[in-house]
Symmetry: C2
Subunit: 606 residues, 2 copies
Amino acid sequence: MTQTLDAPATSSSTQDRVDAWLAAFESALTARDVERAAGMFAATSFWRDLVAFTWNLKTVENPDGVAHLLRATLEQTDPTGFRTTEPPDEADGVTTAWIEFETAVGRGRGLLRLDADDKAWTLLTTLYELKGHEEPKGTARPKGAEHGANRDRETWAEQREREAAELGYKTQPYVLVVGGGQGGIALGARLRQLGVPTIIVDKRGRPGDQWRSRYKSLCLHDPVWYDHLPYIKFPENWPVFAPKDKIADWLESYTKVMELNYWSNTEAKSASYDEKTGEWTVEVEREGQPLVLKPKQLVLATGMSGKPNIPTIDGMDTFRGDQHHSSAHPGPDAYAGKKAVVIGSNNSSFDICGALWEKGADVTMVQRTSTHIVRSDTLMDIGLGALYSEEAVASGVTTEKADLIFASLPYRIMHEFQIPLYDQMRERDQDFYDRLEKAGFLHDWGDDGSGLFMKYLRRGSGYYIDVGAADLVANGDVKLAHGQVTRLTEDAVVLEDGTELPADLVVYATGYGSMNGWAADLISPEVADTVGKVWGLGSDTTKDPGPWEGEQRNMWKPTQQEALWFHGGNLHQSRHYSLYLALQLKARAEGLDTPLYGLQEVHHTS
Amino acid sequence: MTQTLDAPATSSSTQDRVDAWLAAFESALTARDVERAAGMFAATSFWRDLVAFTWNLKTVENPDGVAHLLRATLEQTDPTGFRTTEPPDEADGVTTAWIEFETAVGRGRGLLRLDADDKAWTLLTTLYELKGHEEPKGTARPKGAEHGANRDRETWAEQREREAAELGYKTQPYVLVVGGGQGGIALGARLRQLGVPTIIVDKRGRPGDQWRSRYKSLCLHDPVWYDHLPYIKFPENWPVFAPKDKIADWLESYTKVMELNYWSNTEAKSASYDEKTGEWTVEVEREGQPLVLKPKQLVLATGMSGKPNIPTIDGMDTFRGDQHHSSAHPGPDAYAGKKAVVIGSNNSSFDICGALWEKGADVTMVQRTSTHIVRSDTLMDIGLGALYSEEAVASGVTTEKADLIFASLPYRIMHEFQIPLYDQMRERDQDFYDRLEKAGFLHDWGDDGSGLFMKYLRRGSGYYIDVGAADLVANGDVKLAHGQVTRLTEDAVVLEDGTELPADLVVYATGYGSMNGWAADLISPEVADTVGKVWGLGSDTTKDPGPWEGEQRNMWKPTQQEALWFHGGNLHQSRHYSLYLALQLKARAEGLDTPLYGLQEVHHTS
């Protein structure tokens, strides 16, 4: 056990207070005294549970919410052994403690924050392993060599070869993951470690092609400390913002060394669920050959962005130049000296405009609604630095700890913590925003000034992390036009005010739909509607209609369609939430009872 | 800075004593008072320097040796800033301190052991980086993304492609590494990080084939904690003893993600050095196409085992069955039900005998001289556990620390530390050894009872790490014969006592020559003789003739042939010593002065 020498001073009374709270909480839980336990939470308080109590991702609020959760889950969960794992610390009247505990079936860890009155303000509880199904790692790692003489010996290579030949043909996967980007790969690695037979299918040629196929100057917009995959961290020489082909090569190598059953060149064509047998029938085409798979669980990991939104515009069929959605943009190489009109003003648009300008195209960006822009360096310094940076790692905040700290901040109040950060950013980069405004760019900070990360969680769109292209707009190198597009002519884009923008190329950087669009295509529109909108918090802000959900809709947890799951997000989410999704799947594979608390209702179908 | 809570108690006086020694040592060095500095070492003492003072790997003994080293190196080295990096600890009258220091050109770390009289008993000094040439990692890692708009942007993928197209054709590598096993790969990774243009050539089809091509049941004989490569550690789920194909896949992925310029299917045909231009001319054949490379430095990393020893035996040409050296053995598959005679009784022989028996061959091992056997589990528990194990890692002994502790034990007295370990092993496995002896197996513990690791360092042969095949010999499943082979008939092996062993297959598990055999083939017999024997300590034990060398002959350090280097060994040595070899090469690439202390003399040519 290690402890940082220069950690904040911890008085033994802080430890005593936390110990007392944990003992009293456990005593109330053991006595099944729900009211007493709920009474230990502050009037305004939040308990977030990731699978440990609820077999769900769930946040409840205030003593009433805590009581509601406990009444439904306490008997089955039978939690015990609450203890701190390192000395708690205290700052600004809040005491923060890392804790561990056990349930009837598993082991958990979490983070507790007590207010000055020794009431719980926030509690995070997470499951990290199932008893009897611990991952073979560390002291429990496999031996590898099978010592002794054995005439029936099957070597590692032979086992792998047999598994690859049989899985999907002679034997069926328990889980089928559709989509082999970082989400599918991270989940596949977790399931592999848990011994759950899994196939990942992806229509592209090899792992990483999701990145390779994108425009050539693309680099990750999130820094390395935020991006680690499970089990194998990026090495210390890894770039802060990895170039797309480099991350692609990493994902490909990772898939190989983690021994995933990853089927490239495989498209999932249709899927249907038989409630009676509890089995999916999924038609796939692997290397051109049709095959039917019969998994028990189906995970869509086809990208949190959902299907491309391609607008229907009068005259699209008469336009003579190239036109495509941003997701299908081949890069700028063919457009040197050409006139390009890029419709939209978020991340994809800026990235594509920048690359086209670099190649010598004449570029116009069409801004239809306002966009939020943050400079990459500023975002890293102010937005992520405390949790995900070289300094954070040096001060003991490992990626794993950072993930839990992050997870412990309730979505309900997260914007309150974000607003001051974006105020700082506005101040630091005031000149930059002044220049953008002067150029006529419509800029916003989100409905409530909470900035980029909340936009990401609420709607997954509406922003640009500036890596340089904003200056091109500010200084006029990339021209700016405003308004809706009413029609296309043979050689121009026409806006609602009559402006004609001559064009050899039109790029629709018009965003993506909800992920349940994938379910509509693969399964049926009915199932997509049954599941409802995917992503968003119900914050009642632009593109994230209420009511309040408390968690991201349908992500990494049971949906209204039995045995259908959604997984995805950025590298951070792919890493962190893949653990909880994998544990939910493992529990089902082992036939454990998984009584669900608080299955979400569907309020929106897209 | 972290500190283990349950570390051995450290009294402040221990810290004071070490601080006082370091201050006095630095004061003597700063005053260039060699006698005073040397007087701070015990009458029997050892200073091992890895590149920091000597630009060599060098151990000197006793105050005389220390004075000799300092007289030659002190002025140029100008060492300063000696300090501890964590509280020293004291046990059994020896105080052990982790230290850091600087030299005129670099930064170093090491380990100091003081005796009860506050004299230095052992001192390890190592260079870990050159000032102004620090590796881009951690806080200095590359940014990756190049923010801003730039019409001359070259992406990471384009840079890699251009480098791959130009290096060896338009531009010349500074270093050519011949041999792409773990040694060549680890060195290549270090040189890449240091920005030294390097090509690794290997005749096989892809990285890892050095392992893939070996017999199918092979697993590493050393445990995972001992085997890490630089920069990317094996993940926590990695097997203790990795199967050969798994380690091969890892090496292949590692080569890719570390961006090495690794030329597969490339054979080095000849090499010659021009003293005037300081340049090698190396003829290679890459994918069948001849090409001349002009590196400044040539590293042979073709395997510490050197070239196969294939005996010349009467009748070899008349034998009708299969015969080959162990290194060319294709595995047992073709030999079910056949009679196999394996000549030799060390690692290769046991592994091959075991695999042939498993496949159902009728196997006879011919033992010519005695062999040392240790059971794998026992070796791991008693031999390596303190430094390389899950427990060691948990108690703060990282692989990097373990490597330095290991390096700090002087070769001169290492056997004294080894003997009691092997006494323990003998006791633990007494039954096992009794059974072997009863079966007629000739067993030894090394000339001085110091066991396996000393045999490895002294001669690189003469032992077997038992993973199961020893029992086959003990119980007679694999038959045992003794004596020299005098001739082969059409279908049998004949021993000196006249015994005829019927054979469909003869495997010559007859070991390997010195690594300078590779130099003889590639460069010339004259250069091989100039360089002399490679490997071994000069311990004056079997196959390691004296005089005492103090370090491994010719490994990882300058040889009598300018610009020719040898690199290799097990995964531990490939990892650890590649750093010092890489720093020596980097210093030369940058034109730094590298005055060499104590270039070894040549006492044996093979």
